[in-house]
Subunit: 261 residues, 2 copies
């Protein structure tokens, strides 16, 4: 049995990286909906439909747990998937919200993500459900994903964009920021530099992996494997996977599949 | 009868704007494949399939000419569509290449676009077919689209990104640059500032509209209309359409349609 993860594209690989840390001996099946990426600017109805298609596909791969490694899909589809599927389903939102609630002292929490995630107010709802007195400050940061994908991680441009997006959080006086997009951990250092050391940065990927660990036993898998399914094949997916997970590019087991009705 | 345009999303609206200038009395049907945007990072096979689906849909809307207002779709699907369809089909690549060939003096031409357009080498092939002695310098600029969509058009960040992308063209000594992506005309001023006044900037949208004008008569349409079809509905499409085309947001005739098999 393996752990299944899915994302609209490559961002969820940062979650897979943390899952590997917590479960070094487990097999993992990753699904990247690279044909239909990004989900961040699609409607709720469509993202829900795609998420159900993918989950049904992954169930056939004999997974024992499903991790929605995509903030947009979590905010739109977690509820439906948890109802439909016969295995545990974890999204990336509640673990991040819970960690933020536990660490904040002044109860002022910032959340950054794609337009889809921010518009859905999923983190805000999750935080308010945990503690209604928490103040939530949200901001969509659509340039972060292409900056990461252009590998401008240590460039002045990324620093300026980060300042532009996050300067207002300083005046709000937040003491905790949730990285509500799976690409953002890659520029965590820049974000931390802009906000200063006193702001706690919550990496949803790390928190999600911890929750997965608390539910699933770390059974030894004698024939451990990593499998990747994509809906459109590009070299870029392989390169990114190799870089994030530190895998030999020639040994990545990848298959293109079609999910159309 | 009307003119049909399609694009993967909103970028083709800059082409529609130029078509309206050339044909102020013509009806226009615009199709934005907003559900499956962007095409720039998808495979040739998939983009061709989507383009054929859309063209068949537009044919049923009684169009008399089809304009592929998308560089990626033009480079992958123009040939197939021109063979299949019983009406004239114009892409955005040949008009831009022809204008660049006519204006260059030193025969050193730069081309910028999405990864898909640049990897396809469509402009290079088109320019070389016109004059094999032309030297072509290509560069993918993936950050330009999100910068435009973030409305950072006059921001220092866009200036720095433009410098980063285009500085090398200066050392190549190009005297002409083709804007090979329909979003780029919106930041034409910044591009021109970075490259200097001596470099001619070719706006494919303007050149495409001129070619359309040379083929089609500007017949008067007593009941002129603009119709918009999208595959996923978002407020952003309406806002952008209203801004680019200077239309009242409440009077935009938009319909969501499904193209799935």
């Amino acid at each position: 049995m393996s752990i299944g993860l899915f994302d609209s594209g490559i961002g969820g690989l940062t979650v897979m990286k943390q899952i590997i840390r917590e479960f070094p001996n487990k097999s993992i099946v990753y699904f990247g909906d690279t044909l239909r990426v990004p989900y961040g600017n699609k409607s709720e109805q469509i993202v829900k439909k795609f998420s159900i298609q993918i989950s049904k596909f992954l169930l056939k791969q004999d997974i024992e747990m499903l991790i929605i490694a995509c903030n947009t899909a979590t905010s739109y589809a977690l509820k439906s998937l948890a109802e439909i599927l016969p295995i545990p389903v974890i999204g990336v939102i509640n673990p991040g919200a819970m960690a933020a609630k536990n660490i904040t002292k002044n109860k002022k929490i910032g959340v950054i993500g794609t337009k889809g995630t921010i518009n859905s107010k999923a983190y805000e709802k999750s935080l308010k459900a945990l503690d209604n007195s928490i103040e939530v400050f949200q901001k969509a940061c659509p340039l972060f994903v292409p900056l990461v994908e252009e590998n401008l991680i240590n460039d002045e441009i990324t620093f300026l964009v980060t300042k532009k997006y996050l300067e207002e959080f300083k005046s709000f006086g937040i003491d905790t920021l949730i990285l509500g997009c799976t690409h953002y951990p890659i520029i965590k250092n820049v974000i931390s530099k802009v906000l200063g050391e006193n702001v706690n940065i919550i990496d949803s990927a790390i928190e999600t992996a911890k929750v997965a660990k608390s539910i699933l036993k770390n059974t030894n898998d004698n024939k451990k494997f990593y499998k990747f399914f994509v809906t459109d094949y590009t070299e870029y997916f392989l390169e990114f996977t190799s870089k994030i997970l530190n895998l030999d590019i020639n040994n990545i087991d990848i298959q293109k599949v079609s999910l159309e009705d």
